[in-house]
Protein backbone atom coordinates (compact mmCIF):
# COMPACT_ATOMS: atom_id res chain seq x y z
CA UNK A 1 0.00 0.00 0.00
CA UNK A 2 2.75 2.42 0.96
CA UNK A 3 4.77 1.43 -2.07
CA UNK A 4 1.80 2.37 -4.17
CA UNK A 5 1.50 5.79 -2.52
CA UNK A 6 5.20 6.41 -2.85
CA UNK A 7 5.16 5.38 -6.48
CA UNK A 8 2.52 8.01 -7.14
CA UNK A 9 4.36 10.72 -5.31
CA UNK A 10 7.73 9.95 -6.80
CA UNK A 11 6.89 11.17 -10.26
CA UNK A 12 7.29 14.95 -10.12
CA UNK A 13 4.79 15.50 -12.88
CA UNK A 14 2.11 13.61 -11.00
CA UNK A 15 3.01 15.59 -7.88
CA UNK A 16 2.33 18.86 -9.66
CA UNK A 17 -0.91 17.67 -11.14
CA UNK A 18 -2.02 16.27 -7.82
CA UNK A 19 -1.21 19.55 -6.10
CA UNK A 20 -2.99 21.53 -8.78
CA UNK A 21 -6.14 19.43 -8.57
CA UNK A 22 -6.09 19.48 -4.78
CA UNK A 23 -5.89 23.27 -4.74
CA UNK A 24 -8.57 23.53 -7.38
CA UNK A 25 -10.95 21.21 -5.56
CA UNK A 26 -10.35 23.08 -2.33
CA UNK A 27 -11.04 26.56 -3.69
CA UNK A 28 -14.02 25.40 -5.76
CA UNK A 29 -15.55 23.79 -2.71
CA UNK A 30 -15.18 27.00 -0.74
CA UNK A 31 -16.74 29.40 -3.20
CA UNK A 32 -19.24 26.72 -4.16
CA UNK A 33 -20.64 26.79 -0.62
CA UNK A 34 -21.75 30.37 -1.09
CA UNK A 35 -23.29 29.82 -4.52
CA UNK A 36 -25.02 26.71 -3.15
CA UNK A 37 -26.56 28.68 -0.32
CA UNK A 38 -27.66 31.41 -2.66
CA UNK A 39 -29.30 28.79 -4.93
CA UNK A 40 -27.14 29.80 -7.85
CA UNK A 41 -25.54 26.41 -8.39
CA UNK A 42 -26.25 26.31 -12.09
CA UNK A 43 -24.62 29.70 -12.58
CA UNK A 44 -21.32 27.82 -12.53
CA UNK A 45 -22.49 25.68 -15.45
CA UNK A 46 -23.65 28.75 -17.36
CA UNK A 47 -20.40 30.60 -16.74
CA UNK A 48 -18.36 27.59 -17.83
CA UNK A 49 -20.18 27.29 -21.14
CA UNK A 50 -20.08 31.04 -21.65
CA UNK A 51 -16.33 31.12 -21.08
CA UNK A 52 -15.56 29.24 -24.29
CA UNK A 53 -15.83 32.21 -26.67
CA UNK A 54 -13.70 34.25 -24.28
CA UNK A 55 -10.95 31.66 -24.43
CA UNK A 56 -11.19 31.44 -28.20
CA UNK A 57 -11.03 35.21 -28.65
CA UNK A 58 -8.01 35.36 -26.34
CA UNK A 59 -6.31 32.80 -28.53
CA UNK A 60 -7.33 34.47 -31.77
CA UNK A 61 -6.04 37.85 -30.67
CA UNK A 62 -2.71 36.71 -29.32
CA UNK A 63 -1.99 33.50 -31.23
CA UNK A 64 -0.35 32.08 -28.13
CA UNK A 65 -1.39 29.27 -25.84
CA UNK A 66 -1.11 30.92 -22.46
CA UNK A 67 -3.20 29.78 -19.54
CA UNK A 68 -3.20 33.19 -17.90
CA UNK A 69 -4.42 34.78 -21.11
CA UNK A 70 -7.14 32.18 -21.53
CA UNK A 71 -8.21 32.76 -17.96
CA UNK A 72 -8.43 36.47 -18.62
CA UNK A 73 -10.49 35.97 -21.77
CA UNK A 74 -12.78 33.54 -19.98
CA UNK A 75 -13.18 36.02 -17.14
CA UNK A 76 -14.33 38.78 -19.48
CA UNK A 77 -16.73 36.41 -21.20
CA UNK A 78 -18.08 35.30 -17.82
CA UNK A 79 -18.71 38.87 -16.77
CA UNK A 80 -20.43 39.66 -20.08
CA UNK A 81 -22.57 36.56 -19.62
CA UNK A 82 -23.62 37.63 -16.13
CA UNK A 83 -24.62 41.03 -17.39
CA UNK A 84 -26.46 39.42 -20.29
CA UNK A 85 -28.50 37.24 -17.96
CA UNK A 86 -29.49 40.07 -15.62
CA UNK A 87 -30.21 42.32 -18.60
CA UNK A 88 -32.52 39.80 -20.22
CA UNK A 89 -34.31 39.10 -16.93
CA UNK A 90 -34.72 42.76 -16.13
CA UNK A 91 -35.86 44.08 -19.48
CA UNK A 92 -38.13 41.33 -20.68
CA UNK A 93 -40.58 38.81 -19.30
CA UNK A 94 -38.13 35.96 -19.70
CA UNK A 95 -37.49 34.19 -16.39
CA UNK A 96 -34.08 33.66 -14.95
CA UNK A 97 -33.66 29.98 -15.72
CA UNK A 98 -34.59 30.52 -19.36
CA UNK A 99 -32.23 33.50 -19.55
CA UNK A 100 -29.42 31.34 -18.16
CA UNK A 101 -30.21 28.65 -20.71
CA UNK A 102 -30.18 31.16 -23.56
CA UNK A 103 -26.88 32.74 -22.54
CA UNK A 104 -25.35 29.32 -21.91
CA UNK A 105 -26.14 27.86 -25.29
CA UNK A 106 -25.72 30.95 -27.46
CA UNK A 107 -22.34 31.79 -25.99
CA UNK A 108 -21.29 28.16 -26.23
CA UNK A 109 -22.51 27.98 -29.82
CA UNK A 110 -20.49 31.06 -30.71
CA UNK A 111 -17.55 29.52 -28.89
CA UNK A 112 -17.88 26.32 -30.90
CA UNK A 113 -17.97 28.33 -34.13
CA UNK A 114 -14.76 30.11 -33.12
CA UNK A 115 -13.20 26.83 -32.03
CA UNK A 116 -13.82 25.19 -35.38
CA UNK A 117 -12.53 28.25 -37.20
CA UNK A 118 -9.34 28.12 -35.14
CA UNK A 119 -8.96 24.42 -35.73
CA UNK A 120 -9.26 24.93 -39.47
CA UNK A 121 -6.76 27.73 -39.45
CA UNK A 122 -3.01 27.36 -39.65
CA UNK A 123 -2.11 27.73 -36.00
CA UNK A 124 -5.13 25.81 -34.84
CA UNK A 125 -3.55 22.47 -34.06
CA UNK A 126 -1.26 24.09 -31.54
CA UNK A 127 -4.04 25.64 -29.59
CA UNK A 128 -4.94 22.73 -27.34
CA UNK A 129 -8.28 24.41 -27.03
CA UNK A 130 -10.30 21.24 -27.30
CA UNK A 131 -8.78 20.18 -24.01
CA UNK A 132 -11.12 22.66 -22.45
CA UNK A 133 -14.13 20.60 -23.26
CA UNK A 134 -13.33 17.55 -21.19
CA UNK A 135 -10.41 18.83 -19.21
CA UNK A 136 -7.01 17.36 -19.33
CA UNK A 137 -5.44 17.73 -15.97
CA UNK A 138 -2.69 15.39 -17.10
CA UNK A 139 -1.36 18.10 -19.35
CA UNK A 140 -0.79 20.48 -16.47
CA UNK A 141 2.73 21.80 -16.06
CA UNK A 142 4.41 23.69 -13.26
CA UNK A 143 3.25 27.10 -14.46
CA UNK A 144 -0.32 25.85 -14.50
CA UNK A 145 0.05 24.77 -10.90
CA UNK A 146 1.37 28.22 -10.01
CA UNK A 147 -1.67 29.79 -11.66
CA UNK A 148 -3.92 27.33 -9.85
CA UNK A 149 -2.21 28.11 -6.57
CA UNK A 150 -2.58 31.82 -7.21
CA UNK A 151 -6.28 31.40 -7.94
CA UNK A 152 -6.75 29.35 -4.80
CA UNK A 153 -4.95 31.94 -2.71
CA UNK A 154 -7.06 34.78 -4.11
CA UNK A 155 -10.28 32.88 -3.38
CA UNK A 156 -9.19 31.89 0.13
CA UNK A 157 -8.06 35.38 1.07
CA UNK A 158 -11.21 36.98 -0.34
CA UNK A 159 -13.45 34.53 1.51
CA UNK A 160 -11.51 35.08 4.74
CA UNK A 161 -11.61 38.86 4.56
CA UNK A 162 -15.26 39.12 3.62
CA UNK A 163 -16.55 36.02 5.38
CA UNK A 164 -19.00 37.88 7.59
CA UNK A 165 -20.29 39.98 4.73
CA UNK A 166 -20.70 36.98 2.40
CA UNK A 167 -22.45 35.11 5.20
CA UNK A 168 -24.94 37.91 5.77
CA UNK A 169 -25.55 38.55 2.08
CA UNK A 170 -26.13 34.84 1.47
CA UNK A 171 -28.60 34.33 4.30
CA UNK A 172 -30.42 37.64 4.60
CA UNK A 173 -29.69 40.22 1.91
CA UNK A 174 -32.58 42.43 3.02
CA UNK A 175 -31.17 42.77 6.50
CA UNK A 176 -27.71 43.34 5.07
CA UNK A 177 -29.01 46.17 2.93
CA UNK A 178 -30.76 47.60 5.95
CA UNK A 179 -27.48 47.52 7.84
CA UNK A 180 -25.90 49.58 5.14
CA UNK A 181 -23.81 46.91 3.49
CA UNK A 182 -23.29 47.37 -0.26
CA UNK A 183 -25.22 44.23 -1.14
CA UNK A 184 -25.01 44.71 -4.89
CA UNK A 185 -21.25 45.05 -4.80
CA UNK A 186 -20.88 42.02 -2.56
CA UNK A 187 -23.09 39.89 -4.79
CA UNK A 188 -21.03 40.89 -7.83
CA UNK A 189 -17.91 40.02 -5.85
CA UNK A 190 -19.19 36.52 -5.07
CA UNK A 191 -20.04 36.13 -8.74
CA UNK A 192 -16.58 37.30 -9.76
CA UNK A 193 -14.95 34.78 -7.44
CA UNK A 194 -17.23 32.09 -8.91
CA UNK A 195 -16.11 33.05 -12.41
CA UNK A 196 -12.48 32.76 -11.33
CA UNK A 197 -13.05 29.33 -9.82
CA UNK A 198 -15.00 28.17 -12.88
CA UNK A 199 -12.38 29.38 -15.30
CA UNK A 200 -9.60 27.62 -13.39
CA UNK A 201 -11.72 24.48 -13.11
CA UNK A 202 -12.38 24.26 -16.83
CA UNK A 203 -8.78 23.25 -17.35
CA UNK A 204 -8.99 20.32 -15.01
CA UNK A 205 -12.43 18.90 -15.59
CA UNK A 206 -13.70 20.57 -18.72
CA UNK A 207 -16.63 22.83 -19.50
CA UNK A 208 -19.55 20.52 -18.84
CA UNK A 209 -18.40 19.12 -15.53
CA UNK A 210 -17.00 22.15 -13.75
CA UNK A 211 -20.40 22.90 -12.23
CA UNK A 212 -20.06 19.67 -10.29
CA UNK A 213 -16.88 20.91 -8.62
CA UNK A 214 -18.83 23.85 -7.25
CA UNK A 215 -22.08 22.18 -6.25
CA UNK A 216 -21.43 18.61 -5.19
CA UNK A 217 -18.83 19.13 -2.41
CA UNK A 218 -20.91 22.00 -0.99
CA UNK A 219 -24.10 19.93 -1.03
CA UNK A 220 -22.22 17.07 0.62
CA UNK A 221 -20.81 19.36 3.31
CA UNK A 222 -24.27 20.79 4.00
CA UNK A 223 -25.43 17.40 5.26
CA UNK A 224 -22.88 17.34 8.06
CA UNK A 225 -23.29 20.68 9.78
CA UNK A 226 -25.39 23.79 10.30
CA UNK A 227 -22.41 26.08 10.87
CA UNK A 228 -21.31 28.00 7.79
CA UNK A 229 -17.63 28.06 8.70
CA UNK A 230 -17.53 24.31 9.19
CA UNK A 231 -19.53 23.75 6.02
CA UNK A 232 -17.14 25.88 3.96
CA UNK A 233 -14.17 24.02 5.37
CA UNK A 234 -15.73 20.61 4.77
CA UNK A 235 -16.71 21.58 1.24
CA UNK A 236 -13.13 22.55 0.56
CA UNK A 237 -11.94 19.27 2.01
CA UNK A 238 -14.36 17.19 -0.03
CA UNK A 239 -13.42 19.12 -3.15
CA UNK A 240 -9.73 18.52 -2.51
CA UNK A 241 -10.32 14.80 -1.90
CA UNK A 242 -12.29 14.51 -5.14
CA UNK A 243 -9.58 16.29 -7.05
CA UNK A 244 -6.93 13.99 -5.61
CA UNK A 245 -8.96 10.86 -6.30
CA UNK A 246 -9.62 11.98 -9.85
CA UNK A 247 -5.96 12.59 -10.54
CA UNK A 248 -4.74 9.38 -8.97
CA UNK A 249 -7.22 7.12 -10.69
CA UNK A 250 -6.75 8.65 -14.09
CA UNK A 251 -2.98 8.33 -13.75
CA UNK A 252 -3.32 4.61 -13.35
CA UNK A 253 -5.90 3.85 -15.95
CA UNK A 254 -4.98 4.81 -19.49
CA UNK A 255 -7.53 6.68 -21.61
CA UNK A 256 -9.35 7.91 -18.56
CA UNK A 257 -9.77 11.69 -18.41
CA UNK A 258 -9.45 13.25 -14.94
CA UNK A 259 -12.62 15.31 -15.06
CA UNK A 260 -15.27 12.58 -14.95
CA UNK A 261 -13.43 10.62 -12.26
CA UNK A 262 -13.15 13.74 -10.08
CA UNK A 263 -16.87 14.39 -10.53
CA UNK A 264 -17.75 10.79 -9.71
CA UNK A 265 -15.56 10.90 -6.59
CA UNK A 266 -17.38 14.05 -5.48
CA UNK A 267 -20.74 12.39 -6.20
CA UNK A 268 -19.79 9.34 -4.15
CA UNK A 269 -18.85 11.63 -1.24
CA UNK A 270 -22.22 13.34 -1.70
CA UNK A 271 -24.07 10.02 -1.70
CA UNK A 272 -22.29 8.91 1.47
CA UNK A 273 -23.05 12.26 3.12
CA UNK A 274 -26.72 12.20 2.16
CA UNK A 275 -27.14 8.69 3.47
CA UNK A 276 -24.96 8.53 6.54
CA UNK A 277 -24.55 12.03 7.94
CA UNK A 278 -25.75 12.27 11.54
CA UNK A 279 -28.98 14.20 12.01
CA UNK A 280 -29.46 15.25 8.37
CA UNK A 281 -28.62 12.00 6.64
CA UNK A 282 -31.29 9.71 5.29
CA UNK A 283 -30.35 6.85 7.59
CA UNK A 284 -30.35 9.09 10.65
CA UNK A 285 -33.75 10.48 9.72
CA UNK A 286 -35.15 7.01 9.16
CA UNK A 287 -33.84 5.82 12.52
CA UNK A 288 -35.30 8.88 14.22
CA UNK A 289 -38.69 8.33 12.62
CA UNK A 290 -38.64 4.64 13.61
CA UNK A 291 -37.71 5.66 17.15
CA UNK A 292 -40.42 8.30 17.24
CA UNK A 293 -42.97 5.80 15.94
CA UNK A 294 -42.02 3.16 18.50
CA UNK A 295 -42.16 5.72 21.29
CA UNK A 296 -45.57 6.81 20.06
CA UNK A 297 -46.78 3.19 19.84
CA UNK A 298 -45.55 2.45 23.38
CA UNK A 299 -47.30 5.53 24.73
CA UNK A 300 -50.47 4.58 22.84
CA UNK A 301 -50.39 1.08 24.27
CA UNK A 302 -49.77 2.40 27.77
CA UNK A 303 -52.74 4.76 27.42
CA UNK A 304 -54.94 1.96 26.07
CA UNK A 305 -53.97 -0.34 28.90
CA UNK A 306 -54.70 2.38 31.39
CA UNK A 307 -58.06 3.19 29.84
CA UNK A 308 -58.99 -0.52 29.60
CA UNK A 309 -58.72 -0.87 33.39
CA UNK A 310 -60.48 2.48 34.06
CA UNK A 311 -64.05 1.74 32.78
CA UNK A 312 -64.44 -1.30 35.11
CA UNK A 313 -63.77 0.80 38.18
CA UNK A 314 -65.97 3.60 36.79
CA UNK A 315 -68.94 1.28 36.23
CA UNK A 316 -68.71 -0.08 39.74
CA UNK A 317 -68.50 3.48 40.97
CA UNK A 318 -71.57 4.53 38.98
CA UNK A 319 -73.62 1.70 40.22
Amino acid sequence: MWNWVISILSDPNTRWILLGCLLLGFSSGIIGSFTFLRRQSLMGDTLAHAALPGICIAFMLTETKSIALFLFGALIAGIVATFGISWITRFSRIKQDTAMGIVLTVFFGIGVVMLTRIQHSASGSQSGLDKYLFGQAASMVLTDVYVMGGVCLVLLVACLIWFKEFKLVSFDPGFARGMGLPVGVLEQLILLLTVIAVVAGIQAVGVVLVAALLVTPAAAARCWTDSLALMVLLAGLFGALSGAAGTIFSTFVPNLPTGPVTVLAATVLFAISTLFAPRRGLLARKLRSIQAKSTYMREEQATLQLSSTQPQTQKRGEM
Binding site: F36, L42, F91, R93, V113, F134, T216, P257, V263
Partner: protein
Protein backbone atom coordinates in the same frame (compact mmCIF):
# COMPACT_ATOMS: atom_id res chain seq x y z
CA UNK B 1 -28.55 16.89 -52.56
CA UNK B 2 -26.25 16.85 -49.58
CA UNK B 3 -27.44 20.31 -48.64
CA UNK B 4 -31.03 19.14 -48.80
CA UNK B 5 -30.45 16.28 -46.37
CA UNK B 6 -28.48 18.46 -43.99
CA UNK B 7 -31.07 21.19 -43.93
CA UNK B 8 -33.90 18.68 -43.63
CA UNK B 9 -32.21 17.05 -40.66
CA UNK B 10 -31.65 20.42 -39.06
CA UNK B 11 -35.25 21.48 -39.58
CA UNK B 12 -36.51 18.22 -38.09
CA UNK B 13 -34.30 18.75 -35.04
CA UNK B 14 -35.28 22.35 -34.56
CA UNK B 15 -39.01 21.66 -35.01
CA UNK B 16 -39.04 18.81 -32.53
CA UNK B 17 -37.04 20.87 -30.06
CA UNK B 18 -39.12 24.01 -30.60
CA UNK B 19 -42.42 22.31 -29.74
CA UNK B 20 -41.03 20.78 -26.58
CA UNK B 21 -39.08 23.89 -25.70
CA UNK B 22 -42.22 26.01 -25.51
CA UNK B 23 -43.58 23.80 -22.74
CA UNK B 24 -40.22 23.65 -21.02
CA UNK B 25 -39.75 27.37 -20.72
CA UNK B 26 -43.34 27.93 -19.64
CA UNK B 27 -42.81 25.44 -16.84
CA UNK B 28 -39.47 27.07 -15.95
CA UNK B 29 -37.72 23.82 -16.67
CA UNK B 30 -35.29 25.08 -19.26
CA UNK B 31 -32.31 23.87 -17.27
CA UNK B 32 -33.84 20.46 -16.66
CA UNK B 33 -33.92 20.15 -20.45
CA UNK B 34 -30.25 21.07 -20.44
CA UNK B 35 -29.61 18.44 -17.79
CA UNK B 36 -31.44 15.72 -19.70
CA UNK B 37 -29.61 16.39 -22.92
CA UNK B 38 -26.32 15.87 -21.10
CA UNK B 39 -27.50 12.98 -18.99
CA UNK B 40 -28.59 10.75 -21.86
CA UNK B 41 -24.94 10.18 -22.71
CA UNK B 42 -24.46 7.09 -20.51
CA UNK B 43 -27.67 5.68 -21.96
CA UNK B 44 -26.27 6.09 -25.45
CA UNK B 45 -22.98 4.53 -24.43
CA UNK B 46 -24.62 1.56 -22.71
CA UNK B 47 -27.00 0.99 -25.62
CA UNK B 48 -23.96 1.02 -27.89
CA UNK B 49 -22.11 -1.53 -25.78
CA UNK B 50 -25.20 -3.69 -25.57
CA UNK B 51 -26.24 -3.74 -29.17
CA UNK B 52 -22.73 -3.49 -30.53
CA UNK B 53 -23.74 -1.03 -33.17
CA UNK B 54 -25.73 2.04 -33.81
CA UNK B 55 -28.94 0.08 -33.91
CA UNK B 56 -31.11 3.09 -33.68
CA UNK B 57 -34.34 1.93 -32.10
CA UNK B 58 -32.78 0.25 -29.09
CA UNK B 59 -30.43 3.16 -28.61
CA UNK B 60 -33.35 5.57 -28.75
CA UNK B 61 -35.34 3.61 -26.19
CA UNK B 62 -32.45 2.80 -23.91
CA UNK B 63 -31.14 6.31 -23.78
CA UNK B 64 -34.64 7.71 -23.29
CA UNK B 65 -34.83 5.62 -20.14
CA UNK B 66 -31.79 7.49 -18.85
CA UNK B 67 -33.54 10.78 -19.40
CA UNK B 68 -36.46 9.58 -17.30
CA UNK B 69 -34.02 8.29 -14.69
CA UNK B 70 -32.47 11.74 -14.52
CA UNK B 71 -35.83 13.33 -13.81
CA UNK B 72 -36.52 10.68 -11.19
CA UNK B 73 -33.21 11.32 -9.42
CA UNK B 74 -33.72 15.06 -9.52
CA UNK B 75 -37.20 14.68 -8.01
CA UNK B 76 -35.88 12.35 -5.30
CA UNK B 77 -33.15 14.75 -4.30
CA UNK B 78 -35.60 17.64 -4.22
CA UNK B 79 -38.00 15.62 -2.11
CA UNK B 80 -35.09 14.98 0.25
CA UNK B 81 -34.77 18.72 0.84
CA UNK B 82 -32.07 19.76 -1.59
CA UNK B 83 -32.71 22.95 -3.59
CA UNK B 84 -33.80 22.39 -7.19
CA UNK B 85 -30.78 23.93 -8.86
CA UNK B 86 -28.36 21.88 -6.77
CA UNK B 87 -30.27 18.65 -7.48
CA UNK B 88 -30.15 19.31 -11.22
CA UNK B 89 -26.44 20.17 -11.09
CA UNK B 90 -25.44 17.10 -9.10
CA UNK B 91 -27.48 14.58 -11.09
CA UNK B 92 -26.63 15.59 -14.61
CA UNK B 93 -22.92 16.06 -14.01
CA UNK B 94 -22.66 12.68 -12.34
CA UNK B 95 -24.48 10.94 -15.19
CA UNK B 96 -22.50 12.80 -17.85
CA UNK B 97 -19.28 11.81 -16.09
CA UNK B 98 -20.39 8.17 -16.14
CA UNK B 99 -21.07 8.49 -19.84
CA UNK B 100 -17.69 10.02 -20.62
CA UNK B 101 -15.92 7.32 -18.61
CA UNK B 102 -17.83 4.54 -20.37
CA UNK B 103 -16.97 5.98 -23.76
CA UNK B 104 -13.32 6.58 -22.91
CA UNK B 105 -12.75 3.13 -21.49
CA UNK B 106 -14.54 1.30 -24.28
CA UNK B 107 -13.21 3.29 -27.17
CA UNK B 108 -12.55 0.19 -29.22
CA UNK B 109 -16.06 -1.12 -28.85
CA UNK B 110 -17.88 2.13 -29.10
CA UNK B 111 -17.86 3.91 -32.38
CA UNK B 112 -18.48 7.22 -30.67
CA UNK B 113 -16.26 10.19 -30.76
CA UNK B 114 -16.64 12.41 -27.70
CA UNK B 115 -16.43 15.55 -29.80
CA UNK B 116 -19.15 14.19 -32.04
CA UNK B 117 -21.33 13.62 -29.02
CA UNK B 118 -20.94 17.20 -27.97
CA UNK B 119 -21.23 18.94 -31.32
CA UNK B 120 -22.54 16.31 -33.66
CA UNK B 121 -21.50 16.32 -37.25
CA UNK B 122 -24.47 17.06 -39.33
CA UNK B 123 -22.49 17.19 -42.52
CA UNK B 124 -21.96 13.44 -42.41
CA UNK B 125 -25.52 12.32 -41.78
CA UNK B 126 -26.33 11.95 -45.42
CA UNK B 127 -23.87 9.10 -45.88
CA UNK B 128 -25.19 6.97 -43.07
CA UNK B 129 -28.20 5.60 -44.85
CA UNK B 130 -30.78 3.08 -43.88
CA UNK B 131 -31.51 0.05 -45.95
CA UNK B 132 -34.95 -1.40 -45.63
CA UNK B 133 -35.78 -4.48 -47.63
CA UNK B 134 -32.76 -3.93 -49.79
CA UNK B 135 -33.60 -0.36 -50.76
CA UNK B 136 -31.71 2.71 -49.69
CA UNK B 137 -34.30 4.92 -48.07
CA UNK B 138 -32.20 7.84 -47.01
CA UNK B 139 -30.13 8.91 -44.05
CA UNK B 140 -30.83 7.10 -40.80
CA UNK B 141 -30.76 10.35 -38.86
CA UNK B 142 -33.61 11.69 -40.95
CA UNK B 143 -35.66 8.58 -40.20
CA UNK B 144 -34.97 8.70 -36.47
CA UNK B 145 -35.76 12.38 -36.29
CA UNK B 146 -38.81 12.01 -38.45
CA UNK B 147 -40.21 9.29 -36.22
CA UNK B 148 -39.38 11.35 -33.13
CA UNK B 149 -41.14 14.40 -34.57
CA UNK B 150 -44.12 12.26 -35.45
CA UNK B 151 -44.33 10.86 -31.92
CA UNK B 152 -44.09 14.38 -30.50
CA UNK B 153 -46.82 15.68 -32.79
CA UNK B 154 -49.09 12.75 -31.92
CA UNK B 155 -48.56 12.95 -28.15
CA UNK B 156 -48.74 16.72 -27.90
CA UNK B 157 -51.60 16.86 -30.35
CA UNK B 158 -53.68 14.26 -28.50
CA UNK B 159 -53.05 15.75 -25.09
CA UNK B 160 -52.71 19.39 -26.04
CA UNK B 161 -55.25 20.64 -23.51
CA UNK B 162 -53.63 18.70 -20.69
CA UNK B 163 -50.12 19.82 -21.53
CA UNK B 164 -51.35 23.38 -21.84
CA UNK B 165 -53.03 23.35 -18.45
CA UNK B 166 -50.12 21.64 -16.74
CA UNK B 167 -47.79 24.28 -18.17
CA UNK B 168 -49.82 27.27 -17.02
CA UNK B 169 -51.55 26.13 -13.85
CA UNK B 170 -50.40 22.78 -12.45
CA UNK B 171 -52.49 23.25 -9.31
CA UNK B 172 -55.70 23.64 -11.29
CA UNK B 173 -54.68 20.71 -13.47
CA UNK B 174 -54.22 18.50 -10.41
CA UNK B 175 -57.57 19.70 -9.03
CA UNK B 176 -59.20 18.76 -12.35
CA UNK B 177 -57.87 15.26 -11.98
CA UNK B 178 -55.15 15.50 -14.62
CA UNK B 179 -52.16 13.34 -13.63
CA UNK B 180 -49.63 16.18 -13.58
CA UNK B 181 -46.69 13.96 -12.70
CA UNK B 182 -47.47 11.64 -15.59
CA UNK B 183 -47.46 14.50 -18.05
CA UNK B 184 -44.28 15.86 -16.52
CA UNK B 185 -42.55 12.54 -17.13
CA UNK B 186 -44.10 12.33 -20.58
CA UNK B 187 -42.69 15.72 -21.51
CA UNK B 188 -39.26 14.84 -20.16
CA UNK B 189 -39.36 11.50 -21.93
CA UNK B 190 -40.00 13.29 -25.22
CA UNK B 191 -37.15 15.70 -24.49
CA UNK B 192 -34.90 12.75 -23.77
CA UNK B 193 -35.89 10.98 -26.98
CA UNK B 194 -35.28 14.15 -28.98
CA UNK B 195 -31.83 14.61 -27.41
CA UNK B 196 -30.85 11.10 -28.37
CA UNK B 197 -32.23 11.34 -31.87
CA UNK B 198 -30.49 14.68 -32.40
CA UNK B 199 -27.14 14.02 -30.85
CA UNK B 200 -25.70 12.65 -34.02
CA UNK B 201 -26.61 15.70 -36.00
CA UNK B 202 -26.21 18.62 -33.63
CA UNK B 203 -24.72 17.03 -30.56
CA UNK B 204 -26.16 16.95 -27.06
CA UNK B 205 -25.09 20.40 -25.96
CA UNK B 206 -26.58 22.25 -28.87
CA UNK B 207 -29.90 20.42 -28.57
CA UNK B 208 -30.41 22.65 -25.56
CA UNK B 209 -29.96 25.70 -27.74
CA UNK B 210 -32.64 24.51 -30.14
CA UNK B 211 -34.88 23.68 -27.19
CA UNK B 212 -34.65 27.03 -25.46
CA UNK B 213 -33.74 29.87 -27.80
CA UNK B 214 -36.42 29.69 -30.55
CA UNK B 215 -39.10 29.05 -27.92
CA UNK B 216 -37.89 32.03 -25.87
CA UNK B 217 -37.93 34.26 -28.93
CA UNK B 218 -41.48 33.09 -29.70
CA UNK B 219 -42.44 33.77 -26.08
CA UNK B 220 -41.61 37.42 -26.66
CA UNK B 221 -43.68 37.60 -29.81
CA UNK B 222 -47.07 36.38 -28.70
CA UNK B 223 -49.34 35.64 -25.77
CA UNK B 224 -51.03 32.56 -27.22
CA UNK B 225 -49.58 29.09 -26.82
CA UNK B 226 -50.62 27.87 -30.26
CA UNK B 227 -49.01 30.82 -31.98
CA UNK B 228 -45.97 30.53 -29.72
CA UNK B 229 -45.38 26.97 -30.86
CA UNK B 230 -45.83 27.96 -34.49
CA UNK B 231 -43.44 30.90 -34.22
CA UNK B 232 -40.91 28.76 -32.39
CA UNK B 233 -40.95 26.17 -35.16
CA UNK B 234 -40.56 28.88 -37.79
CA UNK B 235 -37.73 30.57 -35.95
CA UNK B 236 -36.06 27.21 -35.46
CA UNK B 237 -36.32 26.49 -39.17
CA UNK B 238 -34.95 29.93 -40.00
CA UNK B 239 -32.03 29.36 -37.62
CA UNK B 240 -31.30 26.03 -39.26
CA UNK B 241 -31.23 27.41 -42.77
CA UNK B 242 -29.45 30.61 -41.78
CA UNK B 243 -26.99 28.68 -39.67
CA UNK B 244 -26.13 26.34 -42.48
CA UNK B 245 -25.51 29.24 -44.83
CA UNK B 246 -23.37 30.99 -42.24
CA UNK B 247 -21.36 27.82 -41.61
CA UNK B 248 -20.85 27.35 -45.32
CA UNK B 249 -19.62 30.91 -45.66
CA UNK B 250 -17.35 30.79 -42.63
CA UNK B 251 -16.16 27.19 -42.81
CA UNK B 252 -17.18 26.63 -39.22
CA UNK B 253 -19.24 24.22 -37.15
CA UNK B 254 -22.73 23.93 -38.60
CA UNK B 255 -24.44 23.24 -35.29
CA UNK B 256 -22.66 26.17 -33.64
CA UNK B 257 -23.71 28.52 -36.40
CA UNK B 258 -27.31 27.39 -36.11
CA UNK B 259 -27.40 28.26 -32.44
CA UNK B 260 -25.61 31.54 -33.11
CA UNK B 261 -28.26 32.50 -35.68
CA UNK B 262 -30.98 31.47 -33.23
CA UNK B 263 -29.32 33.79 -30.73
CA UNK B 264 -29.34 36.65 -33.21
CA UNK B 265 -33.04 36.07 -33.92
CA UNK B 266 -33.69 36.02 -30.18
CA UNK B 267 -31.94 39.37 -29.71
CA UNK B 268 -33.98 40.79 -32.58
CA UNK B 269 -37.16 39.55 -30.93
CA UNK B 270 -36.01 40.96 -27.60
CA UNK B 271 -35.49 44.38 -29.08
CA UNK B 272 -38.12 44.65 -31.76
CA UNK B 273 -41.07 42.51 -30.68
CA UNK B 274 -44.27 44.50 -31.18
CA UNK B 275 -45.69 43.44 -27.83
CA UNK B 276 -42.73 42.95 -25.54
CA UNK B 277 -39.75 44.34 -27.35
CA UNK B 278 -37.54 46.79 -25.56
CA UNK B 279 -37.25 49.37 -28.31
CA UNK B 280 -40.98 49.56 -28.94
CA UNK B 281 -41.80 49.65 -25.21
CA UNK B 282 -39.46 52.60 -24.85
CA UNK B 283 -41.01 54.37 -27.83
CA UNK B 284 -44.52 53.71 -26.54
CA UNK B 285 -43.61 55.07 -23.14
CA UNK B 286 -42.24 58.25 -24.64
CA UNK B 287 -45.42 58.77 -26.66
CA UNK B 288 -47.62 57.98 -23.68
CA UNK B 289 -45.75 60.50 -21.56
CA UNK B 290 -46.57 63.32 -23.97
Amino acid sequence: MATFWIILTAILVSSACAILGCFLILRRMALVGDAISHAVLPGIAIAFLWSGSRDSLWMLLGATVFGLLTVFFIQSLQAGGLSSDASIGIVFTALFAVGVILISLNAQHIDLDLDCVLFGEIAYVQWDTLTLWGADVGPRAVWMLGITLLVILVVVGLFYKQFKLCAFDPALAAACGIPVVLFHYALMGLVSMTSVASFESVGSILVVGMLIVPAAAAYLLTDQLGKMILYAVLIGAASSVGGYLMAYAMDASIAGCMVAVAGILFVLALLLSPKHGIVLRYVRRKYAAR
